[in-house]
Amino acid sequence: MEFRPILSALMRNKVSMVLIGLQVALTLAIVCNALFIISERLDRMHRPSGMNETDTFVFNSTGFGQGYDVRSVQQADLQLLRSLPGVVDATSVISVPMSQSGWSTSVNLQPNQATATADTALYMVDSHGLSTYGLKLVEGRNFTPAEIGFRTVNDRAAPPSVILTRALADRLFPQGGALGKQVYYDNGSTPTTIIGIVERMQTPWLDSDYIENSSLMPAYLPYGNTTPYLVRAEPGRRDEVMKEVEQRMIQANPSRVIGRMRSIEQVRAVSYAGDRAMAIILGAVIFALLAITALGIVGMASFWVAQRTRQIGTRRALGATRFDILRYFHTENFIITTLGLLLGGVLAYALSLWLMQQYQAPRLPWYYVPVGFVCLWALGQLAVLGPALRASRVPPALATRSV
């Protein structure tokens, strides 16, 4: 291989080599970190919420006028909703996962405990809650209708029973055996018995430190005259049921407004819109950087081929085959790219360190840089192929032509 003479020739044309090398270095550093951020965002966007998202939707019912009895309307609404064709189940709720709005509190192992054992999101449901959310009960039992009571937003009394997520149960009782144990909510002294454990249910907040810690409490909790409902439709009938529900709810009680009707898929899309936008923007940046780098290599190689046409003819006259010429330009590109990539590897880890310090970003996994090396090597070799093929077609007779 001609590494040494090519390298020493390059050292006499440092400016072009340094410019392309720096471009490759910056590309590697930015592409590795941007790809990692995209991967993080995609992982975050695809976290399972624990609930059925494809067949469910939520809406608010807000009544007006004196004599509007929210409790009786709520019971009538639930009866109506559950009776509609295409509806699997329905329940009143206070929040849904990913909605970015809900209730939270502390949960302790002892009454009046000074420091909380864990934090948890609160979901208030009736005995149809598990079925409507589509949660998977892995231990214990569901609420019975007798356990469901009416609460107000100012009511701080702890319910007698609760269903926890597996993550919260494990957090409270790392040794296991959470079922049947008693816990204390809101720094209170009234015990609540764990009667069931569901596999998973995320909190409403995407950035929560305790996103898998949720508690389902047996209660109806209207906000004034407003009741949010969650409805689960039969598979494939959600949109049809959404329209039907809106009409039937208005018909059932014209003195109210049905609002904020949206599917849980819409809730997810809106909540993760920022992550999606970030991934798209970074993807565009990566594409642009790679395109600019590839074009830079094509431009430099084309310029060098044009500049060295006579030299290529001379090499051919001295015995170089077309493949030798092709290999010369590929080797030259390999050297420049490798020097750039070595610098870029250091820059990639330095950039990751800076992001960790400034934005608490996770550390760039080590394998991103070697994978980036291979990809940019391949890109460089691909980019130089066209000019190198042109060079290989320079006839040897060019060596004897006067310029």
């Binding site: 020493s8 020739a9 390059l10 006499r12 006259a317 015995g319 077309r322 040897p396 004897t400």
Partner: protein, 239 residues
């Protein structure tokens, strides 16, 4: 060493046909020093290109050191060129970004010689042209005459059977030209066959044999008295 019989070279475009060489025959024996002369456009560079396997020909026969080059592929021609022919160009054609050592090394690398063998040959060749002490210098640091000596060293390093020189003193002043010519004569005395294209009658006169080309045809040849015994030298006159 080389034998061309009734060689034709036609350049074709969609409008015209140009006969660069027509019915061109020449035979050069091993150890000869032949000068090919002729006015500009006469076809002497085309002859040199075909002779050096830099271009293909349209018809006729050409044998180089016993090898019939008709129908050889590009790779085979490159290998043959690399092994049997040394080139000396009018503009030296040194690679400006390589030092003298690496310049002389270029054809040797294509020959796939081992590193130690290449080093020995480069040092010998540069010593032969009197530039052994300047191996690490770059072409731009040398005079024109010195650059042509490097080109000669590059041509000699592979121990070619045939040296092709294209106006080797064309870019040199008379003093440097004389030095280069003396070097070529010495190389020829040591047994290397040389074919030199030139339009300089003084240089041509120093060769053992002159071949004059006009309009792509050999029109005359002359030989010094002691070279009259070359029976292989022929000319082919147009019909």
């Amino acid at each position: 060493m080389l034998s061309m019989n009734h060689l034709q070279k036609v350049y074709r475009t969609h409008l015209i046909e140009t006969h660069a060489l027509r019915d061109f025959s020449i035979h050069v024996d091993e150890g000869e020093f032949v000068a090919v002369t002729g006015p500009s456009g006469s076809g002497k560079t085309t002859f040199l290109n075909i002779c050096g396997l830099l271009e293909e020909f349209s018809g006729g026969e050409y044998q180089l050191d016993g090898v019939d080059v008709r129908g050889l592929g590009d790779n085979a021609r490159s290998r043959l060129r690399n092994e049997k022919i040394g080139f000396i160009f009018q503009s030296f054609n040194l690679i400006p970004d390589l030092n003298l050592f690496d310049n002389v090394d270029v054809p040797l690398r294509y020959r796939r010689f081992a590193a130690a063998e290449r080093k020995r040959r480069i040092e010998d060749a540069l010593a032969r042209v009197g530039l052994a002490s300047r191996m690490k210098h770059y072409p731009s640091e040398l005079s024109g005459g010195q650059q042509q000596r490097v080109a000669i060293a590059r041509a000699l390093a592979g121990s070619p059977r045939l040296l092709l020189a294209d106006e080797p003193t064309g870019n040199l002043d008379s003093l440097m030209a004389r030095g280069v010519m003396e070097l070529l004569e010495e190389i020829n005395r040591q047994g290397t066959t040389i074919v030199m294209v030139t339009h300089d009658p003084e240089l041509a006169a120093r060769a053992q044999r002159n071949v004059h080309v006009i309009d792509g045809q050999v029109t005359d040849f002359s030989a010094e008295p002691d070279l009259g015994q070359h029976p292989a030298v022929t000319t082919a006159m147009p019909a």
